[in-house]
């Protein structure tokens, strides 16, 4: 599966035995003799110019020879570089047939400190006879690039051209036909697949176990327990509860977790007859948040108390949202602030302003860099996975609680894998680590 296209030239221009044609039937190889070292002058002027200008910037974009006649003419007097050789083209593995890797042996003139080779131009054609199109270029010293522009399943021929300051020299052979093909399995993700399968098996087992009546033990999460305390405090003060479900869209799983918690919070606010304010950043979470609050009031048996204005769409812009929420904090002085979901720089804004108002604050996020801010400025903080556990914890639904036990079992498996990996690496056996590496 890895290599479906390869070098074609059976006669290499450097006189060495051709490299092994990795995975390609010999019948697919086309050897195309080329004209000998042909100095090109005008057509390569722009490539040379770009390579010279871009030498400090690493790889250059594909150049199109056309308009740099004057620059090329000025450099015509310098001898053409010796050709590069041994171009090998292989399919990039584990992709959807979108790229080919080109690797070649440098020109003998491509030496450190040398000036005869500025770089290389990689050309592609659909027939051995051309016409050739420059698809990419590389500075001197670089001998491998990926061509990400081929069409999947189409045969191509490639050649590499050494580009000098005044002229360029194509290789004496071409490589092809080669084609980019797609694979059915990304083999570098095998370890992830196994890990996910094990984790899902744990979760499903514990959910089935909980459903059969075996009540799983889940440790108390002080931050979750504090949510009811915070709502109670707001009720005593006669002030609303402010619930912030993060600042990202619904494609962020933390937002999903925050909206799940929102239903339980809304149920409590309905029970205590305390108003709730939910400012939302994106329209889809806004629509879901409305549903969650409404269903919370329904579940509490108080649908009539539901306020359609309790959930408000504010703005997806980070600091516009901050301005609105902090304004609400200062004007309405909610008795409890609950921050759940994905947060970035605004975490400290919200928590600090909230602290100034004297509200009890409960926060939860899996964004590691924001956790310290919440720990400092809030009364309770749900750290990482506790955010995802909170919804199941608050619902008390056996299958949801059972899924938490699956997570605990997977943690034991991860610790075991880490210990096994350390042991094997210490013993000089690197296969496990290599299998675990993903792309």
């Amino acid at each position: 599966m890895r290599l479906l296209a390869s070098e074609a030239a059976s006669r290499q221009d450097d006189g060495t035995t051709p490299g092994r044609l990795r995975g390609v039937p010999r019948s697919r190889i086309t050897e195309v003799p080329l004209r000998p070292n042909v100095p090109a002058t005008r057509g390569w002027g722009l490539v040379a110019l770009l390579l010279l200008l871009g030498s400090a910037a690493g790889r250059l974009p594909a150049a199109h020879a056309a308009r740099a006649d004057s620059a090329a003419a000025a450099a015509d007097t310098i001898a053409a570089p010796a050709p590069a050789s041994g171009l090998v083209v292989t399919d990039v593995p584990n992709d959807a047939g979108r790229a080919l890797t080109l690797q070649w042996k440098p020109s003998p003139d491509d030496v450190k400190g040398g000036t005869r080779v500025v770089g290389y131009a990689l050309e592609r054609s659909e027939t051995p006879a051309g016409p050739w199109t420059v698809v990419d270029s590389a500075n001197a010293g670089i001998t491998q690039i990926d061509d990400s522009s081929p069409d999947r399943g189409r045969d191509y021929f490639y050649r590499v051209t050494a580009v000098g300051p005044g002229s360029s020299t194509p290789a004496l052979s071409i490589t092809g036909p080669v084609r980019a093909t797609s694979q059915w399995m990304n083999t570098t993700r095998g370890s992830v697949l196994v890990s996910i399968a094990v984790f899902f098996a744990f979760v499903l087992y514990f959910m089935a176990s909980a459903q059969s009546g075996k009540k799983p033990f889940v440790r108390r999460i002080p931050g979750v327990d504090a949510i009811e305390e915070a709502i109670g405090r707001a009720t005593e003060l006669g002030r609303p509860v402010l619930y912030v479900p993060g600042i990202l869209d619904i494609d962020e799983i933390q937002t999903v977790a925050a909206l799940v918690i929102l239903e339980s919070v809304a149920k409590l606010t309905a029970k205590y007859e305390t108003p709730i304010r939910v400012p939302v950043t994106y329209p889809i979470p806004f629509a879901i948040a409305e549903e969650m609050v409404r269903s919370g009031y329904l579940a509490a048996g108080r649908p009539d108390a539901y306020d359609p204005d309790s959930v408000r769409f504010v703005s997806p812009e980070q600091f516009a949202y901050v301005a609105s929420v902090t304004g609400t904090m200062m004007r309405e002085k909610p008795g409890a602030h609950i921050f759940m979901g994905a947060f970035y720089a605004e975490s400290l804004f919200l928590a600090e302003v909230g602290f100034e108002t004297g509200a009890i604050q409960v926060a939860g996020t899996a964004n590691v860099h924001q956790i310290p801010f919440f720990v400092v400025a809030c009364d309770y903080t749900l750290i990482g996975e506790e955010l995802f556990a909170a919804g199941a914890y608050l619902s008390g639904e056996p299958r949801l609680v059972g899924s938490l036990k699956g997570g605990d079992a997977m943690k034991i498996a991860i610790v075991a894998a880490i210990l096994i990996g350390c042991l094997l690496e210490t013993l000089g056996m690197h296969g496990f680590k290599a299998w675990m590496a993903t792309q």
């Binding site: 992709d95 797609s182 059915w184 799983i253 804004f349 600090e352 590691v368």
Partner: protein
């Protein structure tokens, strides 16, 4: 049916997207990319709902002349003007010289930068509170923070230059950041990743369905 169809779609698309992580073949990757692109269309439709909510809430407050209604009027007028100008200018509305670009450069960008600049003051006040040492754990936190902060500036090594290199503050802070800090951070990340997967599985299996609405 109101619940079964969304649950079925969620399960099928969820499994398909998991599959696309492991199967790069175009049979899976092309529809996967298409599904992700269609999300943009769904989101753009959602903005109509969001905009309607903004107008409803604020126009109501303006009509009733609630406290601060004048600011809400500014908000509504700004919203309508920005949308109208963007619609008139069409594609390329952020090209230099366009009115939308002017709004972005002279109004939006400075206001956003001003808000972000305030963060420095909030960090100072939060740091002051973080370093109020009341418990043993707080002592550990404050000591580690002090070492890291001083060890990252030249005076740290100047103060400990007479000690062996391993005991220089720069070396100690590096160890704190690379070993205990990294270990704790990775543990949190691993736990969060498991939480993400568990939540995703619950949603795909239809066990976590409260997001669909409260009505059966």
């Amino acid at each position: 049916m109101k619940r079964e169809v969304p649950l079925f779609l969620t399960a099928v698309i969820g499994v398909f997207m998991i599959l696309s992580f492991f199967v790069p073949h175009q049979v899976v990757s092309v529809p996967g990319q298409f599904l992700q692109l269609t999300a943009v269309i769904v989101v753009s439709c959602g903005y109509v709902l969001g905009g309607a909510n903004v107008l409803r809430v604020n126009l109501d407050a303006i009509a009733k002349q609630q406290p601060g209604w004048i600011y809400k009027l500014v908000l509504v007028l700004s919203l309508l003007a920005t949308v109208a100008i963007g619609a008139i200018e069409g594609s390329g509305f952020l090209d230099p010289g366009r009115r939308s670009r002017w709004i972005y450069d002279t109004l939006y960008s400075p206001m956003s930068a001003t808000m972000f600049a305030l963060l420095a003051f909030f960090i100072a006040s939060a740091a002051f509170r973080a370093f109020r040492v009341r418990t043993v754990e707080a002592w550990w936190l404050a000591a580690a923070a002090l070492i890291v902060m001083i060890g990252r500036v030249p005076i740290g090594d100047a103060l400990t230059g007479f000690l062996p290199p391993a005991l220089h503050l720069s070396s100690i802070q590096e160890w704190i950041m690379n070993v205990p800090q990294n270990a704790a951070k990775r543990a949190i990340l691993m736990g969060a990743a498991l939480g993400v997967m568990a939540t995703g599985l619950r949603v795909i299996l239809g066990i976590e369905r409260s997001y669909l609405s409260g009505e059966d």
